[in-house]
């Protein structure tokens, strides 16, 4: 089922890409192909791979009846909690990136790390605080002092 959806997504993606390609202006300055032809080949290839996946999935489904599929060891059992945790993490990271410049690297990073540490390394608030502060300070020092990359000061600009 997942593979059917994936194949569908690839085909839709390829069509959108091909449409965007067809909207490009036709420019040919000393170049018989112009900027549109090569992307058109790529879009066609993506489309083809989507169709091929459909064929593969269809064939596999026919085979499953006779041959049992052995799952690879890398596949972990599905955890019910996981999608929620990952989504929360994603949202928290988006908030961090939004705050990156206005709030500033130091404050935003300490808060971000502390939030994640509280989630994944529970019951050790002091260790977590030390890790968040220490890590942020080390990274800040490496980037601003050693690599001369100014990190955004944000609300600590007065310092």
């Amino acid at each position: 089922m997942r593979d059917w959806v994936l194949a569908g997504c690839a085909i839709i993606g390829a069509l959108i890409y091909l449409y965007a390609d067809s909207q490009l202006p036709l420019v040919r300055i000393g170049d018989p192909l112009g900027p549109k032809i090569f992307p058109a080949i790529i879009g066609g290839g993506l489309l083809l791979s989507g169709l091929l996946l459909m064929l593969e999935t269809y064939r596999k489904r026919q085979q499953v009846a006779s041959v049992s599929v052995v799952p690879l060891p890398a596949h972990l059992p599905v955890d019910r909690q996981r999608p929620g945790v990952l989504l929360a993490m994603l949202a928290w990271t988006v908030v961090y990136y939004l705050a990156f410049e206005p709030v500033g690297y130091l404050v935003a990073t300490v808060v971000f790390l502390l939030g994640l540490l509280t989630m994944f390394h529970r019951k050790k608030p002091l260790t977590n605080l030390a890790v968040a502060l220490g890590f942020t300070a080390v990274i800040y020092a490496i980037f601003t002092q050693l690599l001369h990359v100014p990190m955004p000061p944000g609300i600590l600009e007065f310092l």
């Binding site: 997942r2 994936l6 194949a7 890409y17 390609d21 202006p25 420019v27 040919r28 000393g30 170049d31 018989p32 192909l33 900027p35 090569f38 992307p39 790529i42 879009g43 993506l46 083809l48 791979s49 989507g50 091929l52 996946l53 064929l55 052995v70 690879l72 060891p73 890398a74 972990l76 059992p77 955890d79 909690q81 996981r82 945790v85 990952l86 994603l90 988006v94 961090y96 990136y97 939004l98 990156f100 410049e101 690297y105 990073t109 971000f112 994640l116 540490l117 994944f120 390394h121 890790v131 890590f135 942020t136 990274i139 490496i142 980037f143 690599l147 001369h148 990359v149 100014p150 990190m151």
Partner: protein, 507 residues
């Protein structure tokens, strides 16, 4: 002969104190990364690239290459002690390494892994040094048509031979190629697929994609690990060395594994995992005691370990001589080359001899450093395994964010990296290989340029690709690799499944 002078010259370059120091830092970081389940060499190199921006390119590349082979070297440790491969290529080492550890022979397994890695690495670098230059000399005669066919071949093998499904490999390659078309077209100045973002006019930053796809996406794997809970570690007991009888059994396996590994590395896109698989299956097939495999046969540790390490050297052949990466990690290293303003390829041997030979020679030194680091310090490194993964994953996310931001000092890159992180997660859940995407992204620009140049030369006739014998040969190779994947792919996969099943029964 010229290669010999090259190596000697390279040794002089690599032996400079700064270069020695950064090689050591590289292999040290590589070994550490290999001990972190979930984080592989590609992610490690990507995370470290921003730190190298101020450095001299030779020094930086020695360090990044050190991370790569250091990681391959150390992947065995988690495989043997934790029953979890530290990187994908160590998956075969698990089959016999962990049973050996369970039998109380963890020390011997670790020692044989380190020694096989060292022998294979040294043999591999020697082969690399002598093969790369003649190959580069041939490649100097390549025109746009030959280059197009060469890259086409590389892209075909990587899509056909990584992962389980040809369609998914192709999909990944075309997504990578599609990403490479984003930005201003150099020949006509037309902005393509920028979706109105000014930041995308200068193309999608390679670093952002790699950090997102590997580092950020791998964090999700660690999250799953922490949620799932326990991993069982076997403590190292007794002496860290093998018996004479074990050595006698392992020695031929090491040499066979090295040869298989180097050839797999030299075939673009095959990668360490397939090298290790082939080496393991070969050993099992020719062994007089096949029933011992999966229950702690020392050849089952020696051969795949040798193969993965020789494979890294083989992968460098293409990168240095042709400008085509040989594996996902060498593709990331190639990205670093380009970021430093150096185009890897046949000209490299004439334009930057210090860099190429210094890099090759540093791999000899790095291998020696790894042997010294790994044998006595294996216990120290193993402590990394006890760092709570909850802390590690948070720190990796922190490093990734700071590194991506430092690249352009633009928050847009952070969101882009997060987007690719989500994409990398989806790729893993859907079993889509990531290496083809990286190949497509890094080679997309060159393949389009050579295609358009060839078409300009031929005034738009596709026949130009069939007029040169080299080009025809490469296109035939590409076709062969697709056919090979269709006919023969099931076989090693089936063998692997059988071996894994046996290991599960034995463990």
């Amino acid at each position: 002969m010229e290669s010999l002078y090259g190596i000697l010259h390279g040794l002089a370059v690599a032996a400079q104190p700064a270069h020695l120091l950064y090689t050591l830092i590289g292999v040290f970081i590589g070994t550490m990364i290999s001990h972190l389940p979930g984080i592989g060499p590609s992610a490690g190199i990507a995370l470290l690239i921003p730190v190298t921006f101020g450095m001299d390119p030779s020094t930086a590349l020695m360090m990044l290459a050190g991370i790569y082979y250091g990681c391959m070297y150390g992947g065995a440790v988690t495989a043997i002690l934790l029953n979890t491969p530290g990187d994908a290529a160590a998956v075969m080492t698990v089959l016999d390494g962990y049973p050996m550890a369970r039998k109380g022979r963890a020390g011997a397994a670790l020692a044989i892994a380190a020694v096989s890695s060292f022998i294979a690495g040294t043999m591999g670098v020697t082969a690399l040094a002598f093969v790369a230059m003649p190959l580069a000399a041939v490649a100097l005669h390549f025109g746009p048509a030959e280059y197009f066919s060469l890259i086409f071949f590389a892209l075909t093998t990587v899509s056909a031979l990584t992962g389980e499904s040809l369609a998914k490999g192709m999909m990944s390659t075309f997504i990578g190629l599609g990403l490479a078309t984003i930005g201003i077209d150099l020949q006509t100045g037309v902005p393509r697929f920028t979706m109105g973002f000014v930041q995308l006019q200068d193309r999608v930053s390679f670093l952002v994609v790699v950090v997102g796809l590997f580092a950020i996406a791998e964090v999700t794997r660690m999250v799953e690990g922490t949620l799932q809970g326990t991993m069982h570690t076997v403590r190292v007991q007794g002496k860290l060395w093998f018996t004479r009888q074990e050595w006698r059994r392992a020695k031929p396996a090491i040499f066979r594994g090295s040869a298989i590994g180097f050839f797999c590395g030299a075939a673009p896109g095959l990668g360490g995992t397939i090298a290790a698989m082939l080496a393991y299956v070969t050993e099992k097939k020719i062994s007089k005691r096949p029933q011992e495999f999966g229950h702690g046969a020392i050849e089952g540790v020696a051969a795949p370990e040798a193969a993965t390490n020789a494979d890294t050297c083989g992968a460098f052949v293409h990168l240095l001589a042709l400008g085509i990466p040989g594996s996902g990690s060498t593709a990331v290293i190639m990205g670093a080359f380009i970021m430093y303003g150096i185009q890897p390829g046949p000209m490299l041997f004439t334009t930057h001899p210090d860099l190429v030979w210094g890099l090759i020679a540093s791999m000899y030194i790095g291998n020696l450093m790894l042997l010294v680091l790994n044998l006595p310090l294996v216990g120290v490194f193993a402590r990394i395994l006890y760092v709570p993964p909850g802390i590690l994953l948070v720190l990796i996310l922190g490093i990734a964010s700071a590194g991506v931001y430092s690249f352009n000092m633009d928050v847009f890159d952070l969101f882009l990296a997060l987007f690719f992180g989500v994409m990398g997660y989806a790729f893993r859940r859907l079993d889509i290989p990531k290496a083809p995407l990286i190949f497509g992204l890094i080679l997309g620009h060159t393949v389009e340029q050579s295609f358009r140049q060839a078409m300009t030369i031929s005034s738009g006739s596709l026949m130009i690709f069939l007029q040169s014998p080299i080009s025809v040969f490469l296109l035939l190779c590409a076709a062969a690799s697709v056919l090979m994947s269709m006919w023969a792919k099931r076989k090693p996969a089936a063998e692997l499944h059988k071996a894994v099943e046996q290991a599960a029964e034995g463990g």
